[in-house]
């Protein structure tokens, strides 16, 4: 027979689970207005890449308030960005740049159609894993040892005594909350480190692929995309996902891999490697397509690509394009 306290705990956990499950379920309910907006954007504004609220109102027949709400969600998903007034700009679904860097890329490529844009993660997974997870692991181990030291005297009472001495006036009542505080601060420090690494990578390792401009990439911290590979200079492109990257990709939120581009400039040939690029297969296909001048597939599958990227905004959208079957044809 369960004790009353244990029963209360189980009931509380189940209630917490049920309440948030219902919330998650409701958040993912269908939103026909939003789906209609996506359909209209893909169907009418894919070429111009810009549209106004009035255009959208005319094409969808939806009220302005509904349109604004839908566009705000698409903006958060990174699919459109608001320009001046009620004009919006469409982003390619494979562009993962910040708004500032997207503007920078557009400016430098003279308003080219940017097909892919992201940042290399050259420190992934080595330094990243070491700093981010190693530090937190050390923090967790210390907290656990201090707790065990205080409760059962293992491995030695010295650890908890040292912690208590470090507390104000050696107050023992603060021991447990202080350990929890240390654990929580470990999490914050990890997040902080993560943001620093990302900020550095964004300034130093941007890579974009434009329909006409070819591949542009940063070569130093202060660089403005001076690394250039013109379309005609691409001799070959290859994708290289190591075993370690493959395993990490199973568990991390964003899949990464290396993409090698062989470049021929005059008589010289060199290989440029973009390390740990997000969605490397897609980058490979984009580079292949600009090399061969075959961009028709993009337009044909724009709807499915957009649905994939918009899945955070589109509550009922499936995880990938196949579930809804894009206009491009095969749905399975």
């Amino acid at each position: 027979m369960l004790e009353q306290g244990t029963l209360a705990l189980i009931v509380a956990i189940l209630a917490g689970f049920a309440a948030f499950f219902v919330m998650g379920w409701r958040l993912k309910s269908r939103n026909p207005a939003l789906e209609r907006v996506v359909d209209t954007i893909v169907g009418h504004f894919l070429d111009e890449r810009r549209f106004s609220l009035r255009d959208l109102e005319r094409e969808t027949g939806l009220a302005r308030e509904d349109l604004r709400a839908a566009l705000a969600r698409l903006e958060r998903a990174g699919l459109v960005s608001r320009e001046r007034g009620d004009t919006y700009r469409l982003k390619d679904p494979l562009v993962f740049l910040t708004e500032r860097d997207y503007d920078r890329a557009m400016r430098i490529t003279k308003d080219d159609n940017i097909l892919y844009g992201a940042y290399q993660n050259p420190y992934m997974p080595r330094l990243y894993l070491l700093c981010v997870y190693g530090l937190f692991l050390a923090d967790l181990v210390f907290v656990l040892l201090a707790y065990l030291s205080h409760t059962v005297g293992w491995p030695t009472p010295t650890i908890s005594e040292w912690v208590i001495r470090a507390l104000p006036d050696g107050r023992e009542d603060l021991f447990m909350p202080f350990l929890l505080f240390l654990l929580a601060m470990g999490l914050i420090f990890v997040d902080f480190m993560d943001n620093i690494i990302k900020a550095w990578a964004r300034e130093r390792f941007m890579v974009i692929v434009g329909a006409l401009s070819g591949i542009s990439y940063d070569i130093s911290f202060a660089d403005e995309l001076s690394g250039r590979i013109r379309r005609g200079e691409i001799k070959d492109v290859d994708i290289d996902i190591s075993m370690f990257q493959k395993i990490v990709n199973y568990f991390k939120s964003v899949p990464l891999g290396n993409v090698k581009v062989k470049v021929k400039k005059g008589k010289e040939e060199e290989e440029i490697v973009f390390k740990n690029m997000p969605f490397p297969r897609e980058l490979f296909y984009v580079i292949r397509s600009i090399q061969l001048g075959a961009l028709q597939w993009r337009k044909r599958y724009a709807h499915t690509l957009m649905l994939w990227r918009a899945r955070a905004a589109l509550p009922a959208a499936p995880s990938g394009p196949s579930g809804r079957g894009g206009r491009g044809g095969r749905g399975g």
Binding site: I13, F96, N195, Y250, G323
Partner: protein, 192 residues
């Protein structure tokens, strides 16, 4: 030439990098059973074992399950609720209730401040971990407002704790620096 790329584009973009759905579910089940067995081997009291198991499953789920549909996302939200409730229950039952009923000494203001910081951080980090679809990566007034409220709470609690050291102005300085770190950590960065 267009057809050359079509199957790849049409195939589920992320699914190409992940384990097959059945493997994900299988691996999740194996790791859950293994984890709960290990927790049982530690011979913890039943209540503690339930709390640890709930947190373990909540931490594991988004790492293994990459299938994104209405059910898996709702489950993720559910696990967030379960883990948060388990942590809250543990704090209330172990520290707050005994103090209120008089079976333990009253909690000091500093202790309460540290518990609040812990709950704030754990609640936010668990949300980032389990409810990724609803983390606002594009910063807007809502994300700034939420960050401002959480940071104000963090600063106040940290200052209360550090004041116990009688550091004077240094307590404000340290609180401000750590709050800036906290605020930057709270503001979500895009995963790519």
């Amino acid at each position: 030439m267009a057809e050359e790329f079509a199957p790849e584009v049409l195939a589920e973009i992320e699914a190409g990098y992940r384990l097959r759905p059945a493997t994900q579910v299988g691996l999740m089940l194996v790791l859950v059973v293994l984890g709960i067995w290990l927790i049982q081997q530690a011979q913890l009291p039943l209540g503690t074992a339930i709390i640890v198991s709930t947190i373990y499953v909540a931490l594991l789920y988004p790492l293994i399950i990459k299938i994104k549909n209405r059910l898996t996302i709702a489950l993720s939200f559910g696990l967030y609720g379960a883990a948060l409730t388990a942590i809250l229950y543990w704090l209330v039952a172990s520290y707050f209730l005994p103090a209120l009923t008089g079976s333990q000494a009253m909690l000091s203001v500093e202790a309460i401040a540290l518990y609040v910081i812990f709950l704030e951080i754990v609640g936010m980090e668990l949300f980032h971990h389990l409810c990724e679809e609803y983390v606002f990566y594009e910063r807007d007034w809502r994300s700034y407002l939420l960050t401002a409220i959480l940071s104000a709470g963090f600063f106040a609690c940290l200052y209360v704790f550090l004041s116990a050291y009688a550091l004077g102005f240094t307590a404000i300085l340290i609180s401000a620096v750590l709050t800036m770190m906290f605020a930057w950590a709270v503001l979500p960065e895009k995963p790519v």
